[in-house]
Amino acid sequence: MTDNTKNAVLDVRNYSLDYKTANGTFHALKDISLEIARGEILGLVGESGSGKTSLAWSIMRYLPGNARETSGKILLSGEDLAQKSSSEIENMRGKRISMVFQDPSTSLNPTLSLGSQLSEVLVRHRGLTRKQAWSEGEAMLARVGLKTPAAMMHRMPHEASGGEKQRVVIATAFACNPECIIFDEPTTALDVITSRQILDLFVELQAETGVASLYISHDLALVSRTAGRVAVIRRGELVEQGSVGEIFTTPRQDYTRELIAAVPDPRRRLVAGQVPTDAQPLVRVEDVSVHYGRKPFLAALTGRKHERVTGNRAVSLSVNQGEILGIVGESGSGKSTLAKAMTGLNPFEGKIWFDGRPITGLKDMNTVYRKDVQIIFQHPDASLNPRQRIGEILSRPLKLYGDAANLDQQIGDMLEQVRLPRTHASRYPHQLSGGEKQRVAIARAFASRPKLVICDEITSALDVSVQASIVQLLLELQKAGNTAYLFITHDLNLIRQIAHRIAVMYRGDLIEIAPADQIDSPQRADYTRRLLDAVPPPVGSAA
C-alpha cells in the first residue's frame, strides 16, 4: 500500500463535495479515496447521479459556483490541486491532466477546423510554432489511426464521423503526454462497432504511453474489458474497490452483486426459445420505404431534381401473435424510422398488413388500429407531458378508445399493473424517478390492451438495475396478454436474452432476420457477425 501511494499519479484522499441548492445542501461526494498509479486504468462505475462526473470535474478543478469542498485533498504527483492558483490550473489542464468527453460532437468547436483545435493545445502547452504544431498534429492523428491525417487536419467537425471526431479528441488529450487522463464515458455516444475500435485504440495508446487513466462509465461490461482495477460508486460513496477479477467474480458488497446481476447476459434467456408460429402473422410489413424531406416549392416549379433522404429502403418483416421481435442496428440504421412509420408518425410507401387488413397510409390508421398498435418511446422525460398529472396522462387512452367509466378506479388498476402505488395518479412526471416514469409510459401503452407494442429503445436511458426490472415487467405483461413486441434496441446482449427472433438493420436496409438462439451461428451475414464481435462480452467471462 505504501509503495502504491508513492507511485500514485492521481491520489484522491477523503474527498467530499457538496452542492448548495435551493432545497438545501446536496452531498455529491462523500469521503472518496482512490489512487491511480502510472500505467494503470481505474474504472469508475456507477449509475446516473452517483457523482462520477462530479469527481471528474473536481479533479479538473472546474466546479460550478455552488460547489463546496468540505474535506480531503486531490493530489497530482504529490501536489495538492486545491492549493494552486487559477493560472497554474490553466497551465496544468491539457498539459499534465486532460479529459475526453462523452459526446465528440459537442466537445469539439463546430466553427474551428479539427487541425486548429488540435494544434492549439500544442502551441499553448509545448510552445511550438503554428507550423510545427500543425505537422506534429498530423503525426498525432496518424498515431490515433486516422487514415488521411493531413486531410483530416483541414476538415471541420461536421465533415468527420463520430468515431473520427472521438479519435481527434483522444489525440488532443494525449497531445502533451499528460500524467493523467480522465475518460468520461468516451464511447457512450458512439455506435457499437465504432466504440469497439475506439476502445481498442484507447487500450493501445494507454499501454504505449503509460498514462494514468480514470475511466468513468456506467457500463460494467466495458469497464471489465479495459480497466485493471474498478471502483464502484453509489450516491457519492465508494462502495467497493478492487481488481477487475475480484469485483466481478467475488463482489463483497450487495450493491455490486445486484449491479452485476442486472447486466444482460445472452446466455441467460428470459423467454421460451421457440417462435410461436401462426398461419397468419399479426403484422406483415411489406416493402415499406420511408423518405425524409419534401420537395422544395421552387424545385417543383423549375422541375429540378430533388434528392430525398432515405430512412428505410423496402423493409419487409412480420411479427406473429405474442412474439418478441428484436430490431438491432447502429444509430441511423432506420430502426426508429420503421417504428414511426408503423405508428403513423412518418409517411411511408409500401404496405403494412395488420390482422389481415392492408394499411397503405395514414388514412387507413383508424381507431381500431391505433388501439391495437401502441408505441413506447426512449426517454420517459420526453414522452410524458410535464404539465399533466399522471392521472390525466393515463386517462387519455381510456377516453379515446371508449370505456371511460370509473376512470379513477381504472387508472389505479393500471398503476398497480406496473407496480406503482395508486397514489401516483395525483403526481406530476417530474416528481417520479426515471424508472417510474417509464412504468407510467408502459401503463399508458397497455391501457388499450394492444396486440402489438413497439418499444423504441425504452431501456437505453435507464440504469442497468432499473433496466432489468423494466424488462422483467414487460415480459410479465407479455405473458399475461399474449402481446407481440417490436423491441428496438442497440443492446445486443439484452435483445439476445428476450427476443424470439432478431432483425438486423444497417443504413436503412434490413440485413437479415434470425432466431435469437442462432444469431451467433457462423452462417450469419457479415455485418451481423461484425456487430456481435464488437459487443463487449458479459461481465463474468472477462475475469
Partner: protein, 274 residues
C-alpha cells in the same frame, strides 16, 4: 406557489417590479374609494395650482384634482392595457402553436402572412383599425390586441417548434388524438412560461400605445380620466403649470417600468436553472 414567489422576490428586478405593479393594482381596485375629490368637479378658482395639502398633486386647467383623476383613470388605462395584451397574447399563442404543430405548407402560409402584418408598425396598424372601426375605447382595445397578436404568434411558434419534437406530442399523434386536443392540452401548457414573460413586458407597451391613441384623440374621449388623454389635454397648458403634464406621464412611466421589471423577474423565476 410560495416558493415561486420567494424566487421572484429574491431578484432586485422582481422585487421592484412586484412592488410597482402591486401599487398600480391598489389604484385600480381601490382608486374610486381612495380618491379625495370628485375627478370631474370643476373649481374655477383653483386652476393650475401646485401641490398642496388639499390637492396633493395640484390641479389642472379646470381646477380638477390631478391625484383623484389619476386614481380613477388607473382603472381605464391599466385594465384596458392588460386586457388588450391578454386577448392579443391568446390569439397569438394559439395561432403560433397551431402553426408549429401543422408544419409544412400551412406553417409557411401562416408565418409569411404574419410577417406581412408585422411589417406594418404596430402604432400605424392600431391607427388603421381605429380609423376603420371608429374611435372608441373598445375599438382601441381591439386595435391593440390585433396589433400584438402577430408578434406573440412568432415568439410562441419558436418555442412550440421545440415542443413539437417532444415525444409526448408524438405519443399523442400515435394514439390518434385530435389536432385541437394536441394544440390546446399537450403543447400550449408547455409554451406558457416564455409567453407569460413576454406578456408582462408587452403590457407596458400596451399602456403606452393606449396613451398614444388617446393622445391622438382616437381612444378614450374627454372628460374621461384616461392617462394618455390627460397628457394630451395638458399639452396646451403646460406653459402655465408643468404638473398637469408631468404627473400623468409619470404614472404611465411607473406602470411601464413596473411591468417591465416584473417581466424580467418572472423570466428568472420561471427558469430555475439561472
Amino acid at each position: 406557489m410560495i416558493e415561486f414567489l420567494k424566487r421572484l422576490l429574491r431578484t432586485p428586478q422582481g422585487a421592484i417590479g412586484v412592488t410597482l405593479v402591486a401599487l398600480v393594482l391598489v389604484a385600480v381596485v381601490l382608486g374610486p374609494t381612495l380618491a379625495p375629490h370628485d375627478p370631474e368637479a370643476l373649481s374655477p378658482l383653483a386652476r393650475y395650482k401646485g401641490p398642496s395639502t388639499a390637492f396633493w398633486l395640484g390641479t389642472d386647467q379646470y381646477g380638477r384634482d390631478i391625484f383623484s383623476r389619476l386614481l380613477i383613470g388607473a382603472r381605464a388605462t391599466v385594465t384596458m392595457a392588460v386586457f388588450a395584451t391578454i386577448v392579443g397574447t391568446l390569439i397569438g399563442a394559439i395561432v403560433g402553436t397551431a402553426s408549429a404543430f401543422m408544419g409544412g405548407r400551412a406553417d409557411e402560409f401562416i408565418m409569411r402572412t404574419i410577417d406581412a402584418v408585422m411589417s406594418i408598425p404596430s402604432l400605424l396598424f392600431a391607427l388603421l383599425i381605429v380609423n376603420l372601426l371608429g374611435s372608441s375605447t373598445i375599438n382601441a382595445l381591439v386595435a391593440v390586441a390585433i396589433a400584438f397578436a402577430p408578434g406573440m404568434a412568432r415568439i410562441t411558434r419558436s418555442v412550440a417548434l421545440a415542443v413539437r419534437k417532444q415525444d409526448y406530442v408524438n405519443a399523442a399523434i400515435a394514439r390518434g388524438e385530435g389536432s385541437s386536443y394536441i394544440v390546446m392540452r399537450e403543447m400550449l401548457p408547455n409554451v406558457i412560461a416564455p409567453i407569460v414573460v413576454e406578456m408582462t413586458i408587452r403590457v407596458s407597451f400596451a399602456v403606452m400605445l393606449f396613451a398614444t391613441l388617446s393622445f391622438l384623440g382616437l381612444g378614450a374621449q374627454p372628460p374621461a380620466a384616461e392617462w394618455g388623454l390627460m397628457v394630451s389635454e395638458a399639452r396646451r397648458y403646460m406653459h402655465l403649470s408643468a404638473g398637469i403634464l408631468i404627473w400623468p406621464s409619470a404614472a404611465i412611466a411607473i406602470v411601464a417600468v413596473g411591468f417591465n421589471l416584473l417581466g424580467d423577474g418572472l423570466r428568472d423565476a420561471l427558469n430555475p436553472r439561472t
